[in-house]
C-alpha cells in the first residue's frame, strides 16, 4: 500500500496519519472472519443481531398465541411464558437494538460518513464483535441448560430473579447475568472506538457541525451507553455474587415458601436504581441513533436540508444529558420515597420538549420538499407516526400520578413497544433499504419492500394501538392469561385474538424482508455509487461496495455541511460534502 500524500498546507487529522499503519488482511480468515475492517465487523454485528432478533420474534409469536388463544397451546405453561417474555425483552432491547444500531450501523457509517479509513482501534473493534458473539451464545445456551432460561422478566428484579419459584433459577439467571457482563465488556470496547473515531478520525474540513445527524445520534448514544452500561454491570455482578456466593446486596431477610433463607440486610430497591440508571438511558441509546438516521433519510428523500439542523443537534445533546436524571420514573410505584415523584415527573416531562422539537423539524422538512416516496422514506414516515404515538403515551406514564393506575399494565407494554420497539425497528428497516446499495452494490427489491413496509407499519399499529386500551381497563402486564377478572368485558378476548392474528401476519412479513435481503445480494438491480443522489461522504467512495481503507489513495476533503440539497443556483439538486466550492467570479 502506497504511503498517502498529505496536503502540506492543511492540519493533519488522525484519520490521515493512521492509514499507514492500517491492518491489511492477508487471508480469507482475517478478511471475513477475524476481520478488523469496520465494514465487515458491521455486517457481522448486523447478521448476528438480526438472527438473534428472529429468535425473539418467534418468542413473541408464542406469547401472543397464549394471550390470544389461552389454553389452546398447552405447552406454553406459566413457566415457559415467563421465560419467553424475559428472553424476548432482553434480546430485543440489548442484543438486537443496541447491537444493531451501534455495532452494526455505527461500525459501518462512522468511518465512511466521517471520511476515515477505519475505526481508530481496529483490533479492539474486532474483539468487541467476538465478545458480543460470545455473549449471544451464552445467552442462547440458557435455552438448553436444565431449567431453561430465566423467567424473571427483562428487568430481573431481585429477590425474585434468583429464587426458586422463578423459572430458570438454576442456570438461566446465571447465563443471563454472565451474558450481560460479557455484552457490556464487548460493547465498551466498541463504544470507545466509536467515540474516539468521531473525536479523532474526522476527515479534513469535517467539523462537528458538518457531521450528518446520523453520526450525531450514534455518537451521543454511544457516550450515553458508555456512561450507563456500568450501572447494569455493577448490578449484574452484585446479583451474580448474591446468587453464587450468597452475599446480600439485594437480598433482605426472606421466607420463601416457608423456608428461611440465609440472606439478610440487602436492598431490592438498590438494584432497581442501578437497573434503571442504565435502563432509562438505554431507551435513548436506542432512540438517538434512530433519530439521527431518520433525519438523514427524510432529508435525502425529500431532497431538502433537514429543517433546523442546529436545533436538531442541540436537542440530541439535551436529550442525552437529561436522560440521566429521569431514571426513577420507572419506579413511581416501587415504594421509593414519594417526594422523588415530583422531581422525576418534572424532569421526565421536560424531556418531551427537545423531543417534540425533533418531531416538528422532521415534518417541517417535508414542508415544501420534493418528496420521493421511496421505501426508506415510507419507513421514515411510519417511524414518525409510531414515534409520535408512543412518545405521547409516554407523557401519560411520565406524569407521576397518571402512572399510578397505568404502570405495570398492558398500557406500558403498548407504550414501550410503540416507542422503542416499532419506531426504532422501522428506522432500522428504512436504514437497511437506504444503505443496502452501498453495502452490496445492489438495490433491494422495491415491490417486496413496499409490501414489507405496509404490512409491518399498519400491522404494528393495529397490534399496539388497541393494546393501550386493554391496559387502560386495568389488565396487568406479564399475565399468563387474561381471565377471571370481573372488570374485563368478554369482548376483550376477541381483541386479544385479533392482536395475535395481526402479530402473526406482521411476523410473517419479515420473512419477505429476509428473502429480499438474501435474494438481492445476487439479483438486485445494480445500484451504482450514489443511487439516492445523497450528499454525505459514504456515497462518494471510489468503489461500491467500499474497499478496505474506504477511500483509495486520497482521503476526502470536506467543503460543506451534510445537507446541501436543492441549493438555489446549483445545477443538481444535491452537492456532495466533498465537492469543492466553485470559484466565485470576482
Amino acid at each position: 500500500m502506497a504511503d498517502v500524500t498529505h496536503d502540506a498546507a492543511g492540519p493533519l487529522s488522525a484519520a490521515e496519519v493512521d492509514d499507514v499503519e492500517l491492518y491489511h488482511p492477508k487471508s480469507w480468515i482475517t478478511k471475513y472472519v477475524f476481520s478488523q475492517d469496520a465494514k465487515v465487523i458491521a455486517i457481522q454485528y448486523s447478521i448476528v443481531a438480526l438472527a438473534i432478533g428472529l429468535v425473539a420474534l418467534v418468542l413473541s409469536w408464542l406469547m401472543r398465541l397464549q394471550l390470544g388463544f389461552p389454553g389452546t397451546f398447552s405447552f406454553i405453561d406459566p413457566d415457559r411464558y415467563y421465560q419467553f417474555i424475559t428472553m424476548h425483552g432482553m434480546i430485543m432491547v440489548i442484543y438486537l437494538l443496541t447491537a444493531l444500531f451501534l455495532g452494526g450501523f455505527g461500525n459501518y457509517l462512522i468511518p465512511l460518513m466521517l471520511g476515515a479509513r477505519d475505526m481508530v482501534f481496529p483490533y479492539v473493534n474486532m474483539l468487541s464483535f467476538w465478545i458480543y458473539f460470545l455473549a449471544v451464545l451464552v445467552l442462547v445456551a440458557g435455552f438448553f441448560l436444565p431449567g431453561g432460561p430465566t423467567g424473571a422478566g427483562w428487568t430481573l428484579y431481585p429477590p425474585q430473579a434468583i429464587l426458586a419459584n422463578t423459572p430458570g433459577q438454576q442456570w438461566g439467571i446465571l447465563v443471563m447475568l454472565v451474558s450481560l457482563i460479557l455484552f457490556i465488556i464487548g460493547f465498551t470496547m466498541g463504544g470507545l472506538n466509536y467515540v474516539v473515531t468521531v473525536l479523532q478520525g474526522r476527515a479534513r474540513g469535517m467539523t462537528l457541525m458538518r457531521m450528518p445527524l446520523t453520526i450525531w445520534g450514534i455518537f451521543t448514544a454511544t457516550v450515553m451507553a458508555l456512561l450507563a452500561f456500568p450501572a447494569l454491570f455493577v448490578g449484574a455482578v452484585m446479583m451474580l455474587l448474591d446468587k453464587l456466593v450468597g452475599t446480600s446486596f439485594f437480598m433482605p431477610a426472606i421466607i420463601a415458601m416457608g423456608e428461611r433463607l440465609a440472606h439478610k440486610g440487602g436492598s431490592p430497591i438498590l438494584f432497581q436504581h442501578l437497573f434503571w440508571f442504565f435502563g432509562h438511558p438505554e431507551v435513548y441509546i436506542v432512540a438517538l441513533p434512530a433519530f439521527g438516521i431518520v433525519s438523514d433519510l427524510i432529508s435525502t428523500h425529500a431532497r431538502k436540508n433537514i429543517f433546523g439542523y442546529r436545533m436538531m443537534v442541540w436537542a440530541l445533546v439535551a436529550i442525552g444529558a437529561l436522560s440521566f436524571v429521569v431514571w426513577a420514573h420507572h419506579m413511581y410505584v416501587s415504594g421509593m420515597h414519594p417526594a422523588f415523584g415530583f422531581f422525576f415527573a418534572t424532569t421526565t416531562l421536560i424531556i418531551a420538549i427537545p423531543t417534540a422539537i425533533k418531531v416538528y423539524n422532521w415534518v417541517l422538512t417535508l414542508w415544501r420538499g420534493d418528496i420521493h416516496l421511496t421505501v426508506p422514506m415510507l419507513f421514515a414516515l411510519g417511524f414518525i407516526v409510531t414515534f409520535v404515538n408512543g412518545g405521547l403515551t409516554g407523557l401519560f406514564l411520565g406524569n407521576v400520578v397518571v402512572d399510578v393506575p397505568l404502570s405495570d399494565t398492558m398500557f406500558v407494554v403498548a407504550h414501550f413497544h410503540m416507542v422503542m420497539g416499532v419506531a426504532p425497528i422501522l428506522v432500522i428497516f428504512g436504514a437497511i433499504y437506504h444503505w443496502y446499495p452501498k453495502v452490496t452494490g445492489r438495490m433491494l427489491g422495491d415491490v417486496l419492500g413496499k409490501l414489507h413496509f405496509w404490512v409491518t407499519f399498519l400491522g404494528a399499529y393495529l397490534i399496539f394501538f388497541p393494546m393501550h386500551y386493554i391496559g387502560l381497563m386495568g389488565v396487568p402486564r406479564r399475565y399468563h392469561e387474561i381471565s377471571g377478572m370481573a372488570f374485563v368485558p368478554p369482548s376483550a378476548a376477541t381483541l386479544n385474538e385479533f392482536i395475535t392474528i395481526v402479530a402473526l401476519i406482521v411476523g410473517a412479513a419479515q420473512l419477505a424482508f429476509l428473502f429480499n435481503l438474501v435474494w438481492s445480494v445476487r439479483h438486485g438491480r445494480p445500484a451504482g455509487g450514489n443511487p439516492w443522489r445523497a450528499t454525505t461522504l459514504e456515497w462518494q467512495t471510489p468503489q461500491t461496495p467500499p474497499a478496505h481503507g474506504n477511500w483509495g489513495k486520497d482521503l476526502p476533503v470536506v467543503y460543506r455541511w451534510a445537507y446541501d440539497y436543492s441549493v438555489p443556483g446549483a445545477a443538481e439538486d444535491f452537492l456532495p460534502q466533498n465537492q469543492p466550492p466553485t470559484p466565485q467570479p470576482a
Binding site: Y82, A152, Y157, P159, Q160, L163, P252, I255, A256, M257, S267, P268, I269, A302, K304, N305, F307, G308, M311, V333, G335, P338, G341, F342, A345, T346, L349, I350, A356, I357, Y360, V363, L366, R368, D370, I371, L373, L381, V385, N389, T393, L395, N399, V401, V402, V404, P405, D408, Y461, P466, Y469, L472, M473, G474, P476, H480, F487, P489, V567, P568
Partner: protein, 271 residues
C-alpha cells in the same frame, strides 16, 4: 396520494376507536377521580398533537410529493417558528404536569383520620391485618414468622395481641372512610392492585410501603398482583369487598384476633 390517505385514515381510525370502542377504564370506586381527570386532560392534549402532526404530514406528502421538474425549497431554519413551537410545547407539557403534581401531592399526603389496613403478600396469596381496639398494629418482622404466625407479628408487642388477622379470606372495607394500606411482603416483590381504586404500590420484602384512598362505591372488586412475583403471578388473586359500615362491623366481629389465633397453638404446644 395513497400514502396521504392511509396516514389520514390512521388518525381518523385512532380517534374513532378511542371514542367508540367498548374498551375503556372500569368505573371508579375510590376518591381518585382526580387521577381520571388528569388522564382525560392528557388524552385531549396528546390526541390533538398526534392528529395535528400526522395530518400535517399527510398533507405534506400529498402536496409536495415528487413530480417531474419539482424542486424543494431551500430553508435551513426558521428560528422564530422553532421557538414558538418549543414554547407552545412547553405550555402543553405544563398543562399536563401541573395538575399531575397537585394530585400526586394529595396521593402521598395521608389524611390523619385514615384507618390502617396492613396487607401481607407472599407467593401467591394475600393476608390482611387490621388494628384491634387500640387502633394500632403491633410490630412485625420476618424473623417472627412461623407456621402458626404467618404474618410475623411480634408476640411480645402488646399492640399486636388484639390485631385482627385475616388469612385465606377477602378483605372488607367500610364505605366512605379513608384507609391507609400498609404493604409488606415476606418473599419477593408484589403489588397490591385493585383497578377500581386506581392506586397501586409495590410491596418490598424488608420494608413497608403504603398508599391511601377512600372507597366510594360498594361492591366486590378483584385484587391483582401487579409486580412479577414468579410462576404463580397470574393467579395471585383475591377480592376486596366494600360495604356500608353496618355490614362491615358485622363482618369484623366474626374475625379472629392474633391472640385468639395463637391460643390454640400454644395450648397444643404445652400438651
Amino acid at each position: 396520494m395513497g400514502v396521504a390517505i392511509v396516514l389520514a385514515l390512521v388518525v381518523i381510525g385512532s380517534v374513532v376507536f378511542h371514542f367508540l370502542s367498548p374498551w375503556w377504564w372500569t368505573p371508579i370506586a375510590s376518591n381518585w377521580g382526580y387521577i381520571d381527570d388528569t388522564i382525560i386532560i392528557t388524552f385531549w392534549i396528546t390526541g390533538v398533537v398526534f392528529a395535528a402532526v400526522v395530518l400535517f404530514m399527510a398533507y405534506c406528502v400529498l402536496r409536495f410529493r415528487h413530480r417531474e421538474g419539482n424542486r424543494a425549497a431551500y430553508e435551513p431554519e426558521n428560528k422564530r417558528l422553532e421557538w414558538w413551537l418549543a414554547v407552545g410545547t412547553g405550555v402543553g407539557v405544563a398543562a399536563m404536569l401541573a395538575p399531575g403534581l397537585v394530585v400526586w401531592h394529595q396521593f402521598v399526603t395521608v389524611p390523619k383520620d385514615a384507618t390502617i389496613v396492613e396487607v401481607v403478600a407472599q407467593q401467591w396469596q394475600w393476608a390482611y391485618r387490621l388494628p384491634g381496639a387500640d387502633g394500632r398494629i403491633g410490630a412485625s418482622d420476618v424473623a417472627h414468622i412461623t407456621p402458626e404466625n404467618p404474618l410475623g407479628i411480634d408476640p411480645k408487642d402488646p399492640h399486636g395481641q388484639d390485631d385482627v388477622v385475616i388469612q385465606g379470606d377477602n378483605l372488607h372495607l367500610p364505605l366512605g372512610k379513608p384507609v391507609k394500606m400498609l404493604l409488606r411482603a415476606v418473599d419477593v416483590l408484589h403489588n397490591f392492585y385493585v383497578p377500581e381504586f386506581r392506586a397501586k404500590m409495590d410491596m418490598i420484602p424488608g420494608s413497608v410501603t403504603y398508599y391511601w384512598f377512600t372507597p366510594t362505591r360498594a361492591g366486590t372488586f378483584d385484587v391483582l398482583c401487579a409486580e412479577l412475583c414468579g410462576t404463580g403471578h397470574t393467579f395471585m388473586r383475591g377480592n376486596v369487598v366494600v360495604e356500608p359500615e353496618g355490614n362491615y362491623q358485622a363482618w369484623l366481629q366474626q374475625q379472629k384476633t392474633f391472640a385468639q389465633l395463637q391460643a390454640p397453638a400454644s395450648t397444643q404446644a404445652k400438651n
